[in-house]
């Protein structure tokens, strides 16, 4: 009986968590049908299909989308290829410098994005 109750408490909790995880997405979808009077889209003011019918009203939206997908594709391919090779070396071989390689790979992980971005900015400004 206790196990039955506990199992369902955990299930109920997990379903609530999924609702929490999906809530902002639901809000984004819902507010894409909103008809805001001003510049801000924070309060519900009425239903409209306007933004879906004119989805390409923003100039260059399509180009930006294509560019995003291109960058994502190239970055994923390069990261997967380079990462797989490194992982193979680390798992299959014992070699001198294994520890420092591990550290070098961990360092970018422990670098906040803002620092990574900043350092790349200085690189591109200087080169």
């Amino acid at each position: 009986m206790l196990g039955f109750v506990r199992r369902h408490v955990l299930t109920a909790y997990s379903l609530l968590m999924f609702a929490y995880l999906l809530l902002p997405i639901a809000v984004v979808i819902l507010f894409s049908f909103n008809n805001p009077s001003g510049r801000f889209n924070y309060t519900w003011q009425g239903f409209t299909l306007h933004y879906w019918q004119n989805w390409n009203a923003i100039p260059d939206l399509w180009n930006a989308m294509k560019l995003s997908l291109e960058i994502a594709l190239v970055a994923s391919l390069v990261a997967t290829a380079l990462g797989t090779l490194i992982a193979l070396a680390l798992v299959r071989y014992g070699f001198r410098g294994r520890g420092s390689t591990n550290l070098l790979i961990f360092l970018p992980l422990s670098t906040p994005e803002i620092v990574l971005g900043a350092s790349l900015l200085t690189l591109f400004l200087n080169v």
């Binding site: 995880l21 070699f95 390689t101 670098t111 803002i114 350092s119």
Partner: protein
């Protein structure tokens, strides 16, 4: 390492070369430039900076923005703890009770990633808005005063960080929980451990690698975050990431921003090493 072993092949080095060269060009070299820049001084209006060994950039950053540094690590620590507490039961449920739905449920966990970081946080801005439903309910329950707000409070910023980095916590937790051999837990129960005791003595310790990976993957980006403080907070909640961001992009005070970046990175590394020593390094690399 013996002579023989070292020369057994160039294979590992050939495998490493492309990735390490990439890291050298796009991580080590940029950090070198950043380090150089952090010791420059000059005029930020005309963007004329010269290298002068200006160590004072570091002292000034620590003196002027100590509060921001402290706040960043406070927010990151609270958000990491919350993310761990929130996602452990969820990861446990998927790993042990997910059955054939596991993959679909994992998809739900990474669902936040289907909406861009910025848009997700803007959605929370809508949800937590002053005339939104959450503030309304809290006011009706007298948990908030009649003019109480959620936006522009540290609660909103920490909640935003917790939400945005939750998948980074939940996924490693799930992986380590999923790998646990169920017969070990059954064995504990056969030996008269209660369900709760079997969890504490078997499941929890075996899931520690996931806890370590999850806390690091959450804490590190959280400490450097600026989006949540920017959108859900006010200048009173600004973190060190906000300062670095505005120094770099708005005030063009590159040396100060570079020095702050290094201080932030150094503190994170020190904390990570202390943490790694406390839990045992073998858990870091698995």
């Amino acid at each position: 390492m013996s002579y023989f072993h070292r020369h057994r092949g160039a294979t590992p080095y050939l495998l490493l070369a492309p990735g390490l060269l990439f890291l050298l060009a796009f991580f080590v070299v940029p950090l070198g430039f950043l380090a150089y820049q952090s010791l420059e001084s000059g005029n930020q209006a005309t963007l004329t900076y010269a290298f002068t060994w200006a160590w004072s950039n570091y002292g000034d950053a620590l003196r002027d923005y100590r509060g921001h540094f402290v706040r960043s690590f406070e927010y990151a620590a609270i958000a990491t703890a919350l993310a761990l507490l929130l996602s452990y039961p969820l990861a446990y449920w998927i790993a042990f009770r997910g059955g054939r739905w596991k993959n679909l449920l994992l998809l739900f966990i990474i669902a936040p990633f289907f909406v861009t970081y910025l848009i997700r946080t803007l959605a929370w801005e809508t949800i937590l808005a002053d005339n939104g439903i959450v503030v309304g309910v809290l006011r009706d329950l007298h948990l908030l005063g009649s003019d109480g707000r959620l936006l522009a409070t540290s609660t909103a910023v920490v909640a935003g960080i917790t939400y945005n980095f939750l998948p980074f916590m939940a996924l490693p937790l799930y992986v380590s929980l999923e790998q646990i051999d169920h017969s070990l837990i059954e064995a504990a129960q056969d030996l008269y451990a209660s369900k709760w005791k079997a969890f504490l003595r078997v499941t929890l310790p075996l899931s520690l690698p996931g806890v370590v990976a999850g806390t690091l993957l959450t804490f590190i980006p959280a400490a450097g975050d600026f989006i949540n403080a920017q959108l859900l907070g006010s200048p009173k909640q600004h973190m060190i990431g906000n300062v670095i961001q505005s120094k770099f992009l708005e005030l063009t005070d590159y040396p100060a921003a570079a020095a702050m970046s290094f201080i932030l990175m150094a503190i994170i590394l020190v904390l990570v090493f202390i943490y790694a020593r406390a839990v045992g390094t073998e858990k870091l690399t698995g």
